[in-house]
Every structure is written in structure tokens, then in C-alpha cells.
Amino acid sequence: MRQDPAHPHLIATGGKENALKVWDLQGSEEPVFRAKNVRNDWLDLRVPIWDQDIQFLPESQKLVTCTGYHQVRVYDPASPQRRPVLEATYGEYPLTAMTLTPGANSVIVGNTHGQLAEIDLRQGRLLGCLKGLAGSVRGLQCHPSKPLLASCGLDRVLRVHRIRNPRGLEHKVYLKSQLNCLLLSGRDNWEDEPQEPQEPKKAPLEDTETDELWASLEAAAKRKLPDLERTQGALQTRRRKKQRPGSTSP
């Protein structure tokens, strides 16, 4: 589920065998936009649906989704067709996380093998890959103005990459537990903030099918901008563990 940052009353939902729907919280019970599945493939079989991550594109009504069947799709509620406007595929493994790049019309997706790729949304082609991750990518976020990307995954390392000139790894930190999601915060003293306003921001990053893995996974890693120099000791104090009462390993 994702909330549109420009219009806070619009949310989009999607999941496994659950097509993309855009809801208006102030409007009616019916979704504002309900996406239609693509046509049957060349064997005349129904193409399965598994939306893993959704992003709203700024300055338009379009949405981008990445699926577990390694597809990236762009939907446009303003156009008369409910099918995706653009579809691109990358790799052979389910795409788990997605983020928009600053300014340019491209997204960066990550899959369960640790491969990160930048895909152009105007033409639907692959612009380039980022390497380094060894585990499934769970969280991705781009800086709103600088060409920096933070990624975290199941290999317990938080990495900051440079997306342009040249593409590469800027910094990495070993955090001792499997990381599930991350958040780039612009505030300086986020530790002093009360806990409640920050919790809702984490909720949209959860996916429905990762719920059963929560009990065995540890916290969110929080990352502060623009200060990039960080010692591991300092990060450890800032990391919060999610206390799950009565959680046992599934």
C-alpha cells in the first residue's frame, strides 16, 4: 500500500493476485481506479498478478508498480485504458523494492537476488545496474535531490550508492540483523521526536506477504541525511528494535 505524497487522500493498494487499485479516502467506497490485467500471453494463458511495490510518479497521475514476476508496469488513470501503459521486464527473480530517481524519469528496482537496476520509464529499457548486494533487496530509497540511493537487504548491510557519474558504491555499513526497510529522514534530531508520528511512515513500506516473516526479522535501519560519515557505534545506538510481544519463530 502506498500513499500519494502529493495528494494525501489517495492511496494505492496491490498484492498477490490483487490488482492495483487506487482509493480515495474522502470519496466513495469504490476505488477511483481499478487496473485491468494484461492480455493473455502467447500461450493464451492468464498472466498472474503479484504487485510488490507501488510508487506514485510526481507531476502526473501515473503509478509505477513492480511485480514478483519481474515486470515493471506504468499505469495511467487519466487515460481511458485500464491496462498498463508501459511494461518492462528485468531479470529472472521477483522484484521486491522500488524507488524513483530524482528528476529523471526512471526507477530503480531490486530483486531477491540482490541485483539493482535502473529502468527508464519513457522507453522501458534498462539504463544500468548497481552491484554489491548479496541478499534479497528489502528497502530502497533515493535522495530527493542528490543522486544517492540507500539500499538495505537480507545480507545485513546498509549501502549508499551513487547513481550517476560514476555509478558505484559510496559507503556501506554492517548492521548485525537482517534489514527490512529504511527511511531517509531530513530531520536533524529525529531521536528526540516522539515515537508515534514516525510509526505511520513505516506502515506503507510493509507488504502484505512479508507479514509472516516479521517475527524472525529485526528492526528498521534509520539513516540520517546529509551527514554521511557515521561510525558503526553511533548507528547502533540509533537503531530501534521492534519489540514484538509474544513473538515466536514461525
Binding site: G68, E92, Y93, P94, T96, T112, H113, G114, K131, G132, A134, G135, S136, L154, D155, R156, Y174, K176, S177, Q178, L213, A215, S216, E218, Q232, Q236, S247, S249, P250
Partner: protein, 349 residues
């Protein structure tokens, strides 16, 4: 005295020591005089232009000759240095400085920040809540299912049988073309805790998939160097039904820790020391060596060991978070040769 170097040495005098680069004519003359004792006419010295290297000689025979001569000279110098050092050590006796430790790839290993500190409480908390916690809390005892890929050949079948004697409470079943994803729910319903699949290629076992069952991690290994019982020299009699002890060596990093726990959870938690049997998983340079021995203490410090049981070497290819699902599963660690194998001194386990 100064002659063209290429022609004068064609006689192939090995007694004449000659360095290719920067040689003065006078030194060569002195060497010549020394060589007259051999009774053969010494060849005249050659002055090589500075910056000359043996590899620039076009004639292969001549080049080879110059190189062997140079090599012999190097060896002699090295031996001389060694002898001198030895003499000095003997002369100093007790006051000699300790011998320097030779550099090995294991010594020079790149610093790995993921090495687990034994007192680390975060790692301890992590391990208390992961999938193996129920085994380490003695709540479950292992029950293993061993199977192979479809239509196994003789070696693989015998390896499975021998493995089932090594691992207590294990059962071997034939695969008969069943899909793993269908086998797994059935295993879970029959209370199996682990699944081992030995993959075979061209009549030899070459892969191992170890899956912890109620939704635990799945490790995929490359298996090499498999020796069945009859191929092991000087081995002891067949292993008994006693539960063996386990030795896990060198699983230092966080990934190594997880893999080590996977191996430990295959065996029951209460080793029977009467049986004097031990299974060893030794990790060195990312290769895991499996051995099965019987030991006997001859005295306080002397142990005799007999190797029983199969032996093989494993290399981790991937560690997946759920049970076996190579297409849609999430990987905790994947071995990527072009990214991870760039340094000879960096290891991941």
C-alpha cells in the same frame, strides 16, 4: 674486453656468472680470470647495454640459456643468504630473535567486519529468535530425510546410505520424480526437521541442498571430492549407532555462524561419548570439509583417530530464507563469482 654479448656466450659456459642488466666490463674480466682454473678457455666478457633484459633476446635457445643461468645465480644467492642467517642464529644461540611467521593466504585475510564477537548481545538475541532456536532450546530433536535427484546412480545411492549411518535418526527415500515443493509439505506434516537432497551429475554426486523444514533456511552447496567408505585408506570398522559429537571449525563470520548452526541442528543434542565418534565440519577458505572419525585417547595428550564414514567437501552457493523455492524465494546470501571472488584474500564464511 667489451664484446658483443650475444655472440660470445654462444659456447654455453655455465660457469660464467652473468647478470643481464648493468654489468661492468671489469667485473666480467675478473670473473673470467677466476674461471681459468676450470681449464677451459674462458669466453670474453660481454657488456650489456643498461636497461637490457633477457626477455628481449630473440633467439629462443640463447634466451633460455641466459634465463637458466640467471636463475641458478639467484638460487645460489638465496642459499647463501639462508646459510648466513642460520649461522648468525646459531652464533646468537638463546638470544636469537624469534623466527618470522611466513605469510599465508589465511594470515593475510582481509579484515571482515562481519566476524561474530562471542559476547555480542545483538547476535545472541538474533539467534535466540531465529529458526534454529527451538533446536538449541532442546524443544525439537532432529529427524532428517535424505533423498537424491531423480534416477540416482550407484555412487549417489551408496553415499546416501552411508550418510544415513553417520547422521542419527535419518531416513533415505528414493526420489521417483517427485517435485521438491510437493515433498516439503508432506515432510512437515510427518514432523521431519531437515531435508537433504544430494544432486547428481554424470553419475557422481555434485551438489547438496540442506533445507531446515518448518520454513527454515535452505542452503545450496557444491559438493566435490566425495570419497565413499571403501575408497578411504586405513579406515576403521563401520560406525555404530551411537550419537556422534560435532566439531565446527572456523565459522567466524555472521554467515558462517548461520551455516554452522544449520549443520549443528542436523545432529541430536546429546552426544554419546561412549561411542567415541565425531563428525567434523572444518571451514577453510570458504570450503567446508566433512570428516567422520573414531578417536581413542591413548594417554592424556595422545589421541589415535581412525577415519570412518564418507568424506566430502562443500562450498556454499546460496542461502535462501524460506524452504526450497529457487524461483520465487528470497535469498539471504548468493555467491556471485564476478563480484565476490575478485580478491584472493577475501572469504565470506
Amino acid at each position: 674486453m667489451a664484446k658483443t654479448g650475444v655472440n660470445s656466450g654462444s659456447r654455453g659456459k655455465k660457469g660464467l656468472k652473468r647478470k643481464a642488466a648493468a654489468e661492468e666490463p671489469q667485473e666480467a674480466a675478473v670473473a673470467e680470470d677466476g674461471a681459468t682454473e676450470s681449464g677451459v678457455q674462458p669466453p670474453k666478457a660481454a657488456a650489456f647495454p643498461p636497461g637490457f633484459s633477457i626477455s628481449e633476446i630473440k633467439n629462443k635457445q640463447r634466451r633460455h640459456l641466459m634465463f637458466t643461468r640467471w636463475k641458478q645465480q639467484q638460487r645460489k644467492e638465496k642459499l647463501a643468504i639462508k646459510k648466513k642467517l642460520k649461522k648468525e642464529r646459531e652464533a646468537l644461540g638463546d638470544k636469537a630473535p624469534p623466527k618470522p611467521v611466513p605469510k599465508t593466504i589465511d594470515n593475510q585475510r582481509v579484515y571482515d567486519e562481519t566476524v561474530v564477537d562471542p559476547n555480542d548481545e545483538e547476535v545472541a538475541y538474533d539467534e535466540a529468535t531465529d529458526e534454529f532456536a527451538s533446536y538449541f532450546n532442546r524443544q525439537t530433536s532432529p529427524k532428517i530425510l535424505i533423498t537424491t535427484s531423480d534416477r540416482p546412480h550407484g555412487r549417489t545411492v551408496r553415499l546416501c546410505e552411508q550418510l544415513s549411518t553417520v547422521i542419527p535418526n535419518s531416513h533415505v527415500y528414493y526420489r521417483r520424480g517427485l517435485a521438491l515443493k510437493k515433498i516439503i509439505p508432506q515432510c512437515i506434516s510427518r514432523d521431519f526437521t531437515d531435508l537433504i537432497v544430494i544432486n547428481e551429475d554424470r553419475k557422481t554426486p555434485n551438489g547438496l541442498i540442506l533445507s531446515h523444514l518448518p520454513n527454515g533456511p535452505t542452503a545450496h552447496f557444491k559438493m566435490s571430492s566425495v570419497r565413499l567408505r571403501k575408497e578411504i585408506k586405513r579406515r576403521g570398522k563401520d560406525p555404530t549407532e551411537h550419537i556422534p559429537e560435532i566439531i565446527l571449525n572456523n565459522f567466524t563470520t555472521r554467515l558462517g555462524h548461520s551455516v554452522g548452526r544449520m549443520f549443528a541442528s542436523l545432529f541430536p543434542h546429546n552426544p554419546q561419548f561412549i561411542g567415541r565418534q565425531v563428525a567434523t565440519f572444518h571451514n577453510q577458505r570458504d570450503y567446508i570439509f566433512f570428516r567422520f572419525h573414531r578417536y581413542i585417547f591413548k594417554s592424556e595428550k595422545k589421541v589415535g583417530i581412525q577415519e570412518l564414514g564418507p568424506r566430502f567437501t562443500l562450498k556454499l552457493r546460496s542461502l535462501q530464507k524460506g524452504t526450497f523455492d529457487s524461483k520465487y524465494g528470497e535469498y539471504e546470501w548468493v555467491h556471485k563469482p564476478r563480484e565476490m571472488d575478485t580478491s584472493r584474500r577475501k572469504f565470506h564464511l
